[in-house]
């Protein structure tokens, strides 16, 4: 059910690439202020779902609403509410950290009189103030991720969407990125929608998760609810992990639909760049 406090509402969201149904009747509701994790393997449809929510892919009216705005009818209003960090390391290496953030301040219409201060604040929040005037090409993978976070935050979004934000990062950098996300969420109360392969991260940092497989949500709830649910079904004393829940939902066999060539190449390229 969609309410005033619903950040994202997908109703029967479907999207096909030719014959392939990437998202197949997705129903999803993300409440305002929560950190929601969309989990699943390559090809599960989570990136396509994110692209529909962010207006990158056109969907008919009535399928996706962001804070009440229909992405099919009111794209510009939706975009003004979004901060988006794609899977790839998307900072421009030919610009400094400050210039990267400044570009997003400009395209979100931050007035000139407050642009410099707002950009400086965004860089300060992600601990990049000291490196702000270095070219982004000299940053480490973790620093680039934090820079992208600053780019997304400079417009004060109500919904922060992160597509695989920690892919390819070492454990310390992963923790650093999550610390920043949690600090920002605590400070601003913004809603966070994140996709990830890492079940341990989702378990630790997400309020609720949706396990996606073959274009649909197969399980939905808090990580603890899902783990307890599986424990009750299976019996036994030990509480299963979220990965066990996922394996139970999706099966463990090889899946020919697990990600197209471009998905895998993009994932590997990102991992190579940060690793």
């Amino acid at each position: 059910m969609t309410t005033d406090t619903t950040a994202v509402a997908c109703t029967g969201l479907s999207y096909s690439f030719g014959e392939t149904k990437a998202v197949d009747g997705l129903d999803l509701s993300v409440g305002e202020g929560e950190v929601f994790g969309l989990l699943g393997p390559n090809g599960a449809g989570k990136t396509t779902a994110i692209r529909c929510i962010t207006t990158l892919l056109p969907v008919p009216a009535g399928m996706v609403r962001v804070f009440g705005h229909d992405t099919g009818k009111d794209r510009m209003a939706v975009r003004r509410l979004l901060g988006y960090v794609p899977q790839q390391l998307s900072a421009d290496s030919g610009l400094t950290g400050r210039e990267n953030v400044e570009l997003f301040a400009r395209v979100f219409d931050v007035p000139r009189r407050e642009r410099a201060a707002r950009v400086a604040e965004a860089l300060e929040v992600v601990d990049l103030a000291d490196a702000a005037d270095r070219l982004a090409g000299t940053y480490s993978g973790g620093m680039v991720r934090r820079l992208e976070l600053a780019q997304a935050l400079v417009s004060a979004p109500r919904l922060l969407i992160l597509d695989e934000p920690t892919i390819g990062l070492d454990p310390i950098a992963r923790t650093g990125v999550w610390d920043q996300i949690n600090a920002v969420r605590e400070a601003t109360g913004m809603t966070v929608l994140v996709t990830t392969h890492y079940m341990d991260e989702a378990d630790q940092h997400c309020d609720r998760v949706g396990l996606m497989h073959r274009g649909r949500i197969r399980a939905l709830g808090t990580p603890t609810e899902l783990r307890r649910g599986l424990a009750e079904r299976q019996g036994g004393d030990a509480l299963p992990t979220l990965e066990d829940v996922f394996r139970d939902v999706a099966g463990s066999g090889l899946d020919d639909r697990s990600g197209g060539f471009r998905d895998v190449r993009s994932t590997r390229r990102t991992a190579n760049r940060v690793g």
Partner: protein, 283 residues
């Protein structure tokens, strides 16, 4: 339902130093949006050039060689009718147009690189209509080409080409370079939206660049071309750019009204085509 407010939300904790990041900026609307996006894209181009001027220097080599070798040799041969001016003078506007076109025609490769790097998707999720994004990029290509044109004009002046220094005429030169670069960059971005891969675009870019150059009046007058090439030259925006540059820089007879009209229409059509194909790159 689409009237749901985008008001600032309740803040659970407000640490010092993030006050501005709690308030969404006031959106620009109407006619003010397009110039703001164009300025944003041009600023990025200038910032990049400020950090790395290598491209500016390396791209100056080819036009310098054209003027130095081709221009000076053909000036001696006197084989091409130039209306009484030295061939190197006749050639200089053509080389300015050529070097600007070479920059713009590879903008499609840049947009595919931005697609692969995730930069394009991130920009497409901002409140920037696709037409404004393409217009911004087209004018950014114009700014880059303009800087290149200044370099070529300086080289031509050093080589003794007698050019005008009338500021109004130079402004006209700038406008012609920007409009033509906007068209060629949009042509390239449109092809990028069709072929979707860098390798294919590089092949096509190279395949169309030479016919555009040799099928124009950059090197020789249209009158000495065979009939079929004259038709190519008539539909080639580069010819109108060269005609305008020659008229403004050298004072030769030109059709400035027609030239600027064709360039403006070509740029507008290019922006329309590239904007409508941009969505294919986002998929």
């Amino acid at each position: 339902m689409s009237e749901a407010p985008a008001a600032p939300r309740t803040v659970s904790a407000e640490p010092t130093g993030t006050s501005l990041l709690l308030t969404p900026p006031q959106p620009r609307s109407g006619w003010r949006l397009l110039p703001a996006r164009v300025v944003a894209m041009c600023a990025v181009e200038l910032q990049k050039l400020r950090h790395d001027r290598t491209e500016l220097y390396t791209r100056a080599i080819q036009p310098a060689l054209w003027l130095l070798i081709f221009g000076q040799t053909f000036t001696r041969i006197k084989a091409i009718p130039t209306g009484g001016i030295p061939y190197i003078d006749y050639l200089a506007p053509g080389i300015i147009a050529q070097s600007a076109m070479f920059i713009a025609i590879f903008y499609g490769i840049q947009i595919i690189w931005e697609r692969d790097a995730g930069i394009l998707n991130k920009l497409l999720v901002t409140p920037t209509p696709r037409s404004a994004l393409i217009t911004g990029k087209a004018f950014a290509a114009g700014v880059k080409s303009l800087i290149q044109a200044v370099v070529v004009i300086v080289i031509a002046a050093i080589l003794g080409v007698s050019l005008t220094w009338n500021p109004l005429k130079l402004l006209g030169v700038g406008l012609a370079v920007v409009l033509a670069s906007a068209f060629f960059s949009c042509l390239s971005m449109s092809i990028a939206g069709i072929v979707l891969s860098r390798d294919r675009l590089m092949g096509i870019g190279q395949a169309i660049t030479m016919p555009l150059f040799f099928g124009s009046n950059a090197l020789y007058p249209v009158a000495i071309m065979p009939g079929w090439l004259q038709v190519v030259s008539k539909i080639n925006p580069l010819s109108y750019q060269v005609d305008a540059l020659r008229g403004l820089l050298l004072g030769t007879p030109a059709h400035l009204g027609l030239d600027f009209g064709v360039l403006a229409v070509a740029a507008a059509l290019g922006i329309t085509a590239a904007s409508s194909l941009l969505g294919r790159l986002a998929r």
